[in-house]
């Protein structure tokens, strides 16, 4: 109990200011932690952090999940690249059901890419949930076109050392896309576009299966999986939120709403991709202290 209290006090929200943009120094955060494990760390000095081990954490929209892997001695031959996929599904009080997903991986040049692959700009990081689900084959019996932006700005080609070739991380022949990247208990058929809602006379009869208010899917890439530090954004509300004005975008609006957001719990799932092999690393339920 005393431990839980100490962690909660340590991670009291430090920034609920008006600055929306996430500015952080990943190297400085990693240096402050400097030990292997999964942590939740503030993005501003003195980079307070707490291990993600089941103890309640205090929510901060600008904080980062930090994964530090243990160093190992380099093996003979070529090793796999370090590719991690992190998915969060958050239940929050008094906010609307998620109809978008926060999607991000930093700009990256992999062993298989010809050039640096671009990332989503900050304003474009909230993609329609249906677009995300359709891209990842939510309904294998009715496959839809892939989203060009999700392939180019989120996924990447990686090396399969065993097969001695390259594979895109959203290749539907190489991966079970829905199983790897899909959100559990989030059903595509429960989601309508704005036009469908406007043009449907009778509302849908079936109940919504999803109760998540914040959904995110992020990638991190390093040339090696050993002795590296990667970080992922904190959950934010991805449902309809109040508009910030004529020139605001969905991401800015979500970050504004995150300042007063009351998340209760977050399911955090981390997987590592080793060529065509998907290795589940961790699946944790995080509970958030009252704000």
């Amino acid at each position: 109990m005393r431990m839980k209290l100490a962690v909660a006090v340590l991670l009291l929200p430090v920034s609920v200011g008006s600055v929306v943009a996430q500015n952080f120094d990943e190297q400085a955060i990693c240096a402050a932690i400097n030990k292997p494990g999964l942590f939740y760390a503030r993005s501003q000095p003195p980079y307070q952090y707490a291990p993600v081990n089941g103890a309640p954490l205090s929510y901060d929209r600008d904080a980062r999940f930090v994964l530090i892997t243990a160093p190992v001695r380099p093996r003979q031959g070529h090793d796999y690249e370090g590719v991690w996929h992190v998915r969060t599904q958050t239940i929050a009080e008094l906010s609307k059901r998620a109809n978008k997903a926060y999607v991000y991986r930093p700009p990256v040049r992999t062993r298989c890419s010809r050039d640096v692959l671009p990332a989503f700009e900050e304003r474009d990081r909230l993609v329609t949930l249906t677009e995300y689900l359709d891209h990842h084959l939510s309904n294998p019996h009715h496959p839809r076109q892939k989203s060009y932006d999700l392939t180019r700005r989120f996924h990447m080609p990686i090396q399969d050392v065993a097969a001695n070739d390259c594979v895109w991380t959203d290749d539907d022949k190489a991966f079970d896309l829905n199983g790897t990247y899909g959100f559990s208990d989030v059903n595509r058929r429960d989601l309508d576009s704005a036009f469908e809602v406007a043009m449907t006379l009778v509302p849908r009869a079936y109940a919504s299966s999803s109760s998540y208010q914040g959904l995110s899917s992020q990638f991190a890439y390093r040339d090696t999986p050993h002795g590296v530090c990667v970080s992922f954004a904190s959950p934010i509300p991805t449902g309809p939120v109040p508009h910030g004005g004529w020139f605001s975008n969905a991401y800015d609006d979500a970050m504004q709403a995150a300042a007063g957001w009351k998340p209760k719990s977050t399911l955090l799932v981390i997987k590592r991709l080793e060529g065509r092999r998907v290795i589940p690393l961790t699946s944790k339920m995080i509970t958030w202290t009252d704000r």
């Binding site: 076109q145 036009f195 309809p240």
Partner: protein, 218 residues
């Protein structure tokens, strides 16, 4: 007085125009072509389902509403463009010529997109042939700016489909006009619009409606 045969260049230059007059001249074509436009309803339903973030399978009513709004938008946009182009003594003649050209081009462009998705979807996951060709996931430096733009990429892809649709429509009208049939007696020639102008207008509308189909509440 015998009409002098047109030179090769003249005939080639005429291909830049959509032969709406040939369509209006022939009685059966004037009757059949507008009815064929109903085919866009199932085509649009199919297309709206294939898009990522597109309509749900059971969205019949939104699909029908979308077609009505699309046709209405084409009429409005054509009406606005007709104020300045094609230059005609009578505004309604210019508008009529543009409206019929745009609707025909749109129907053919939509059919081509659906054909591309359908043929691809037969063997694997549906994908757009033109987009795959123009914008691979690691595009060359000369096309990268276009492919990375969320606005320009769909516009370019739709423009190619619309141009191909307009050319197909032109070929079809020329082909059908060779069949000997009864002529319209009350026919009054219209000023024919340029293929490229029609294709641009159709491509812009199609790109806008793609956004409308996939948009969600913020």
């Amino acid at each position: 007085m015998p009409v002098a045969p047109k030179s090769g260049w003249r005939r080639l230059l005429e291909w830049r125009l959509l032969p709406i007059n040939k369509l209006l001249q022939t009685k059966w074509m004037q009757q059949v072509f507008p009815k064929l436009l109903w085919l866009v309803v199932p085509l649009q339903y199919y297309y709206a389902q294939q898009l990522p973030a597109g309509f749900n399978l059971e969205s019949y009513l939104p699909s029908a509403a979308l077609v009505i709004i699309l046709v209405a938008s084409m009429v409005c946009v054509a009406g606005v463009i007709a104020i300045g182009y094609p230059r005609s003594e009578n505004y309604y003649d210019a508008a009529r010529s543009l409206v019929s050209s745009m609707l025909g081009t749109w129907a053919f462009a939509l059919a081509l997109i659906c054909l591309s998705l359908g043929l691809n979807g037969w063997f694997a996951r549906p994908s757009d042939v033109i987009q795959d060709f123009l914008c691979p996931f690691e595009p060359g430096p000369w096309i990268r700016v276009v492919c990375d733009s969320r606005l320009v990429r769909p516009l370019l892809v739709y423009l190619i489909y619309a141009l191909a649709g307009a050319v197909l429509l032109t070929i079809l009208i020329h082909g059908c006009a060779r069949i000997k049939a009864a002529r319209n007696e009350d026919y009054r020639p219209l000023r024919e619009p340029n293929l490229v102008v029609v294709a641009i207008a159709v491509a812009v509308l199609m790109a806008f409606f793609q956004w409308l189909i996939t948009a969600t509440n913020r």
